[in-house]
C-alpha cells in the first residue's frame, strides 16, 4: 500500500510536491529544491515525494531543519490478489465519464468530478476496486474503443494501468496538511497539487523547470513498444491515432488540471511559457522566475591584468548534448581569425568516454594540440579571471548558469539559441531599461557563427568590455540569487496570507 512516512502531523507552510527527484535523486532540479528550502529558512516545508514504485530509497541530501515532514507515495504498486468474484462494481460506472474526459486532454472540471465520485464512495475505495474489477475492465475496453480502436489492446491495457494506476495512487493517498501546495512539475505532482487545492481550499503553485508534458512527448516518441505494428501504408489520412496519443493526451489532461487548479505558474524563461500556453495554461497566471546565481561571489572574481593569450572557454561536461565537436571545429576556424588564441574546455570528461575519445581524435586531426586544452573538472572562480569570452554550443539547455556566472564576472558569451540563452544575452522583451547585448546568439551546430562571434569579441576590446558590462548588469538585476530568493519569498508570502477558498469551489464549474 501507500507508504506514508509522516515524520510529523503538524501543518507546514509549504508542501513541496515533487515527482521522482528530491531527495532521492541527485540532479539539477533536486539541487534547486535544496537551495530553495535553505533560502526560505523562515518557511516550514513538508515534502510530498512521488516515486515510481515502493522500493526503498536512500536520501541523497541532508534535509534542512525547516523540512518538518516527508510523505512518500509510490505511483505504481503491485496489486493485491484479485478475488474472482469481485464486488463494488458500481464505482466504475461513476468514474467512467470523468476518466474518459480527463484522458482526452480534459481538465479541472473532469478531475473535480472524479474526486467527487471517490468522495461519494467513501473510504472503502481501494486501488483494487478502481483497477481490477470486471466493470473497470469493461470501462477500459470502452475507453480503448473510443480512443484507439485499431491499436494493440495489450499495449493499451498496460498503458491505461500505468496512467490510471499512478492517478489513483495520488488520489487515494493521504495528503499532508499545508498552507500552500507547491508542485515542481505537472504530471502526477500537478495532480496531487490540484487535489490538495480542491479539497483544502488552500492555494497551489506550480514551478516548471522543464515542461513535463514535453519531456514525456520526447520519451514517448522514443518508446518503440508504443508504436503499432499495423501497416501504416494503409493510412491515407497520415498517421493514425495510436498509443502515443493516448499517453500524451492523458498527460496533457493532467497538465491542464494542474494549470487550472493553481494560482501561479512560474518557469525559468519565456520559451517555456509558449509550451505552457499551448497545453492550456492561462496567460494571467504565468510568471518567470529564473534560477539565481551567486552574483556576489562571482562578481568579485578579479580580472587577471597580466599579459596572456586571448582565451576562450566552454564550461561543461564532455557529452554529446553540449556538442563539443562543434566547439572544436569553431576553435580550428578561430585559430585562423585570432592568432595565438587559447581554447579551453572546463568540465569533467569521464561521463561519456567514447565521445571524449572522438573529441580528442578530432583535436589531433585538426592539429589543435597547441590551441585546445581539456582542463577537466575545475573550480570556475580560479579560471574565470583569465577567460575573455565564454562559448556555449549545446543543442539543448534550459537556463545555463555558466553564462550568468561568467556574466557576473563581466565575461561575455557566444551561445547557441537554446533554452533561455537569447533571453540571458539579449534581455527579455519587457526589460526596462534595455541593458543591451551581453554576447552573441548563434544557430545550432554552426562552427563558423560560433567562431565569428568569439573572434569579434576577442579582437575588439571595447566591444568585449561593453558586452561584459551589459551581461554583468543583467545578471545583477535579474539573475542574482538574492533577487530570485526575494521573488520566491514574496510568492510564498502572498499565498500564505490568502484566505481559505471554499473547498471545491472552482471557477467556471
Amino acid at each position: 500500500m501507500v507508504e506514508n512516512r509522516n515524520t510529523t502531523e503538524s501543518e507546514a507552510d509549504v508542501c513541496l510536491i515533487v515527482e521522482g527527484a528530491y531527495p532521492f535523486v541527485a540532479g539539477g532540479v533536486s539541487s534547486w529544491m535544496h537551495d530553495l528550502i535553505q533560502a526560505q529558512s523562515h518557511v516550514t516545508f513538508h515534502l510530498l515525494v512521488l516515486s515510481a514504485d515502493d522500493s526503498p530509497k536512500t536520501s541523497r541530501f541532508t534535509l534542512p531543519s525547516n523540512v518538518i515532514g516527508m510523505t512518500e507515495i509510490a505511483l505504481q504498486q503491485a496489486s493485491d490478489r484479485v478475488p474472482i468474484v469481485s464486488g463494488r462494481q458500481n464505482i466504475a460506472k461513476d468514474i467512467e465519464e470523468p476518466m474518459t474526459r480527463l484522458f482526452e486532454r480534459g481538465g479541472l472540471t473532469d478531475f473535480r468530478q472524479l474526486l467527487d465520485v471517490l468522495e461519494k464512495h467513501g473510504p472503502n475505495v481501494s486501488r483494487s476496486s478502481l483497477l481490477n474489477t470486471e466493470a473497470v475492465f469493461a470501462m477500459v475496453e470502452r475507453m480503448y474503443e473510443r480512443s484507439t480502436p485499431g491499436s494493440s489492446f495489450i499495449n493499451y491495457f498496460w498503458s491505461w494501468r500505468a496512467l490510471a494506476g499512478g492517478l489513483f495512487s495520488v488520489l487515494l493517498a493521504k495528503l499532508p496538511r499545508a498552507r500552500i501546495y507547491h508542485a515542481i512539475s505537472t504530471g502526477y505532482a500537478g495532480i496531487a497539487m490540484a487535489r490538495a487545492v480542491l479539497t483544502t481550499g488552500r492555494p497551489g503553485l506550480l514551478t516548471e523547470h522543464g515542461i513535463y508534458t514535453n519531456e514525456r512527448r520526447v520519451e514517448i516518441a522514443m518508446a518503440d513498444w508504443l508504436s503499432d505494428q499495423m501497416p501504416s501504408s494503409l493510412d491515407i489520412e497520415g498517421r493514425r491515432r495510436d498509443l502515443r496519443d493516448v499517453w500524451i493526451d492523458a498527460f496533457t489532461g493532467y497538465a491542464r488540471t494542474c494549470y487550472e487548479a493553481c494560482s501561479r505558474i512560474t518557469t525559468l524563461y519565456t520559451g517555456n511559457q509558449v509550451l505552457q500556453s499551448r497545453d492550456g495554461a492561462p496567460a494571467e497566471k504565468l510568471q518567470i522566475i529564473p534560477n539565481g546565481v551567486n552574483y556576489d561571489g562571482f562578481s568579485k572574481v578579479p580580472r587577471d591584468p597580466s599579459p596572456r593569450r586571448p582565451t576562450v572557454a566552454l564550461i561543461g561536461r564532455v557529452v554529446p548534448i553540449k556538442d563539443v565537436k562543434t566547439f572544436i571545429r569553431a576553435a580550428a576556424l578561430l585559430r585562423d581569425m585570432v592568432p595565438d588564441v587559447r581554447v579551453l574546455l572546463l568540465g569533467p570528461t569521464d561521463e561519456d568516454p567514447e565521445y571524449f575519445h572522438e573529441c580528442r581524435q578530432m583535436v589531433a586531426h585538426l592539429g589543435l594540440e597547441n590551441t585546445f586544452e581539456f582542463s577537466g573538472r575545475v573550480r570556475l572562480q580560479d579560471y574565470l579571471g583569465n577567460v575573455d569570452v565564454i562559448a556555449l554550443t549545446s543543442i539543448s539547455e534550459a537556463q545555463p548558469l555558466v553564462l550568468l556566472e561568467a556574466g557576473a564576472a563581466s565575461v561575455p558569451s557566444v551561445a547557441t539559441d537554446v533554452g533561455s540563452c537569447r533571453e540571458i544575452l539579449h534581455g527579455r522583451t519587457d526589460e526596462a531599461p534595455a541593458l543591451g547585448p551581453g554576447g552573441f546568439v548563434t544557430p545550432l551546430s554552426n562552427p563558423l557563427a560560433t567562431a565569428k562571434g568569439l573572434a569579434d569579441l576577442l579582437l575588439d576590446e571595447n566591444l568585449r568590455k561593453q558586452y561584459g558590462e551589459a551581461i554583468r548588469a543583467r545578471t545583477e538585476k535579474y539573475y542574482n540569487k538574492r533577487v530570485v530568493d526575494g521573488l520566491y519569498r514574496d510568492l510564498y508570502h502572498d499565498h500564505l496570507e490568502m484566505p481559505e477558498r471554499a473547498s471545491l469551489a472552482v471557477e467556471g464549474v
Binding site: 535523486v25 490478489r81 470486471e134 475492465f137 489492446f153 500505468a162 519531456e215 520519451e219 513498444w225 505494428q229
Partner: protein, 459 residues
C-alpha cells in the same frame, strides 16, 4: 525528472503461455492413461493366468496388483502434477540439460515416500512369503516410477515409444507369468508381472535418457516448484484419491472380502467399475482429437494474438471462436459418449454374463457406466480449466470430487447391492456440473480473466 520511464520499463510482457501449453497439452493422456492401463493390465492378467492359478491365488495376486496401482497412483499424483509444470518450465527456459537430474530427484522423492509406507504395509499388515513381499513391494515402487516417467514422455510427445514400451512390458508380463506361474505359483505370477512392469519402466527411462543425454545436475531443483505449484500438487493428490476412494470404501464395506490377511477388496464392485471404465475410450479418443486440433489452435490463437498486439475486436472474435469450438466439442463428445453409455446400459446383462459375473453386478455396472460418463466429462472440463490456468477452481473441483465420492459412496452402502455404484455416479455428476459451471463462468469472461483476474503479471 523521473517520468514514465519507469512505466515503460516495467511493462515487459510476461509469457508463460508456452509453458502452460507444454504442461497441459497432454493432460488427458496423463490423467486417463494410468486409469485405463490399470483396467487393461488386470484383465490381461486374469486372462493369462486363468486355469493356471487357483481361484484364491488369482484373487490374491489381483488384489496385490490393484493395491499397487491404486496407492502408487495416489502417492505419485502430487509429484506428477508438479513435475509436469516444472518440466514444462524447464523446457520453456531451454534448460533441457537439467531433465535427467529432475527425473532422478523426482524418483528419489517418490520412492522415498512410497518405500516406508510400502514396507510397513507389507511387513506389518500383510502375511506373505518373503519372496512375495519383496515382489509386491518392487511392483509398488516400479508402478509409481512408471507414472512418473510418463510425464517426461508426454512432454516429448513420444507416444509411439510409450505405446511400444507398454506393449512390450505387457507381453513380457504375459509370457513370464504364463511360464513362471506353473513353477512357482503365486510368487511366479507376481514375478512375471513385476518383470513386465520393470520392462515398461526401463524402456521409458531409456527413452527419456536417450532424448536428454545429459549428466545429472540439480536433482532437487523440483522442490521449490512444490511451493510455487502447491495447488497443483493438491489437485494431483485429490484427483487420484477421488478415483479410488469409492473403491476403498467399498472394500471396507460389509460386502468387502478379505482375500488374505490384511488384503481386502470387493471383487464385484471392482470388476464392474473397471469394466465400466472401458466405455470411456471412444470419448477419450474424441477429446484428444478435438483438443489436438481445433480447440488447441483456437486457444493458441487467442493468446498469441493478444501478445502480437491484436485489437480488442480481434480478441473478442477469438474469444467467440474458442467458445464455439468448446461448445461443439462438448456437444460431440456428449452425443457420442451418451450413445455408447446408453448402449452399454442396454447390453449390460449380456456383457456381465459374458464376463461370468453375477446378476447383482448389472446395476453396479450400469451406475459405473453412468459414473464413468460424467467422470470423463469432468476430466475434460478440468483439463480445459487447467488450460486457462485457473488453478484454484481446479483445486476446488477435485476436492469436491474426492469429498462427494467418499461421502455419497458411504451414504449408499446401507441400501445394499441395487444401489451400489450410485454414489460414484452422483459424485461425478455433481462434480462435473460444478466444474462445467465454473468453467463456463470463467471462459465466458476470458478477456477479463486473462488481463486482470488471472494475470500473474499484475500481482
Amino acid at each position: 525528472m523521473a517520468g514514465i520511464g519507469f512505466a515503460l520499463r516495467t511493462l515487459v510482457e510476461r509469457d508463460d503461455l508456452s509453458a502452460r501449453l507444454q504442461g497441459y497439452g497432454h493432460a488427458a493422456i496423463v490423467a486417463a492413461g494410468p486409469w485405463l492401463f490399470t483396467v487393461v493390465a488386470l484383465a490381461a492378467f486374469e486372462a493369462a493366468t486363468k486355469g493356471i492359478l487357483d481361484r484364491e491365488a488369482l484373487s490374491r495376486v489381483t488384489a496385490i496388483l490393484i493395491y499397487n496401482f491404486s496407492f502408487s497412483l495416489v502417492f505419485s499424483g502430487p509429484i506428477v502434477m508438479v513435475l509436469t509444470r516444472h518440466l514444462a518450465d524447464l523446457l520453456y527456459a531451454r534448460q533441457a540439460e537439467e531433465v535427467p537430474g529432475v527425473l532422478i530427484g523426482a524418483l528419489v522423492l517418490l520412492w522415498g515416500i512410497q518405500a516406508p509406507f510400502g514396507i510397513a504395509f507389507v511387513t506389518l499388515v500383510l502375511d506373505l512369503s518373503a519372496a512375495e513381499s519383496l515382489l509386491a513391494l518392487l511392483g509398488f515402487l516400479v508402478t509409481g516410477g512408471i507414472w512418473l516417467a510418463c510425464v517426461f514422455l508426454s512432454a516429448l510427445k513420444n507416444y509411439r515409444s510409450i505405446s511400444l514400451a507398454f506393449a512390450l512390458g505387457m507381453l513380457v508380463a504375459f509370457a513370464a507369468g504364463t511360464y513362471l506361474s506353473p513353477l512357482y505359483g503365486e510368487a511366479g505370477a507376481l514375478a512375471g508381472l513385476t518383470l513386465g512392469l520393470a520392462v515398461i519402466f526401463y524402456c521409458l527411462l531409456g527413452c527419456i535418457l536417450a532424448e536428454y543425454p545429459y549428466g545429472i545436475r540439480n536433482p532437487f531443483g523440483l522442490l521449490p516448484s512444490f511451493r510455487k505449484y502447491w495447488d497443483l500438487a493438491c489437485v494431483g493428490l485429490f484427483y487420484n484419491a477421488a478415483i479410488w476412494v469409492d473403491k476403498w470404501i467399498m472394500w471396507l464395506s460389509p460386502d468387502g472380502q478379505s482375500v488374505a490377511p490384511g488384503l481386502i477388496t470387493n471383487p464385484s464392485y471392482d470388476s464392474s467399475m473397471f469394466l465400466a471404465y472401458l466405455t470411456i475410450v471412444p470419448a477419450l479418443i474424441l477429446f484428444l482429437v478435438s483438443i489436438e486440433t481445433r480447440f488447441f489452435e483456437q486457444y493458441v490463437a487467442f493468446y498469441r494474438d493478444i501478445q502480437n498486439h491484436a485489437t480488442l475486436q480481434k480478441i473478442r472474435q477469438n474469444h467467440k471462436l474458442i467458445m464455439s469450438v468448446l461448445g461443439e466439442g462438448v456437444r460431440n463428445i456428449a452425443i457420442v459418449q451418451g450413445i455408447i453409455c446408453y448402449m452399454a446400459i442396454l447390453v449390460a446383462p449380456g456383457l456381465i454374463g459374458l464376463a461370468k459375473g453375477g446378476i447383482e453386478l448389472v446395476s453396479m455396472f450400469r451406475f459405473g457406466v453412468l459414473g464413468a460418463f460424467f467422470h470423463t466429462l469432468l476430466l475434460f472440463a478440468m483439463i480445459v480449466i487447467a488450460y486457462f490456468d485457473l488453478r484454484r477452481i481446479l483445486l476446488c473441483v477435485t476436492c469436491l470430487f474426492f469429498a462427494s465420492n467418499a461421502i455419497l459412496t458411504l451414504a449408499f452402502i446401507p441400501f445394499g447391492a441395487p444401489w451400489t455404484g450410485y454414489g460414484y455416479f452422483l459424485a461425478s455428476l455433481l462434480s462435473f456440473a460444478v466444474a462445467c459451471l465454473a468453467g463456463i463462468w470463467c471462459i465466458t469472461r476470458l478477456p477479463y480473466m486473462t488481463f486482470i483476474a488471472n494475470n500473474r503479471g499484475l500481482h
